[in-house]
Symmetry: C2
Subunit: 164 residues, 2 copies
């Protein structure tokens, strides 16, 4: 229930997390079979992981290209200043952009990195004008189009090496 108990997870916990990352709707019966536990024991551990916050929730994975959003653009944005109020105003505007799925303030060459999903290049042009170019305090926008996706995972495989 609390959070900063520096919880210790054992191999079974990692196996449960692994199974549920692969199939979030797996029944407790199947989960139990998969991790060699009774369904009740598996369910109890699953709930504990949920309560502890290690499992934050479950989500359906949608096929965005099939929904007409086949193009992914990674956008680097530099602001005119890095004053606190400037950052805050920019961030508040970003969360309201309906095409943005990811935005982080980063160190390095640029200030923010974002990921944008669009239907077509024409659509990106439209969104560039209507969403990105209207964000406040922007000095420079650089767009990189995703040509081919090499890897896309929810969780780094390193986590699952611990399930043994």
């Amino acid at each position: 229930m609390t959070e900063n108990t520096l919880t210790e997870f054992d191999a079974t916990d990692f196996r449960i997390m692994n199974a549920l990352v692969e199939d979030g709707r797996m029944s407790d019966v199947m989960l139990g079979e998969r991790v060699h536990l009774s369904a009740t024991a598996a369910a109890r551990r699953r709930k504990l992981l949920e309560e502890q916050g290690a499992i934050k929730g479950y989500t359906a994975e949608l096929d965005l290209p099939m929904l007409g959003l086949g193009i992914v653009v990674i956008v680097a944005i530099e602001l005119r200043s890095q004053a606190d109020s400037v950052l805050t105003e920019f961030e508040e505007a970003v969360v309201r952009c309906p095409s943005v799925t990811f935005c982080s303030f980063v160190s390095g060459d640029t200030d923010f990195l974002m990921m944008v999903h669009v239907k077509s290049f024409e659509d990106y042009d439209r969104i560039y004008r209507s969403e990105l170019a209207t964000l406040p305090h922007v000095a420079k926008i650089r767009s990189s189009f995703v040509m081919r996706r090499v890897t896309q995972r929810n969780v780094p495989p390193a986590v699952f090496a611990r399930g043994r």
Copy 2:
């Protein structure tokens, strides 16, 4: 079952997808209430969306910081050449890196953009040496550390505007 039927989705389909993105383990009964359908009707539509591939699957969302992976690094990699064999060898090596959750071949300033999850800066140094620096044909690596996450969504909100 097939895929290129250019499937048409109605507002109820989008409402179902929205509900399941928010809670992938939602029962069909709850789903039916949420979209104003009987549980059976909701279940039938859910299954159809799964079979059509619009819903690719379900996954548990893990709290990576709680599992000791609190630092996210976005890595831009330039290769020495863009010959087909060079790209292929690089990509085959990347998918075997256990700390990489995202890698795409992109247009623009760099060749590949990747996302790496690590425990600490020391850990990044170790992974930089053991995973990234050993990737073949790399000319230049630029690392940006995520200082603050502004937005992180599975699906752009624009998709859900269609659920009405």
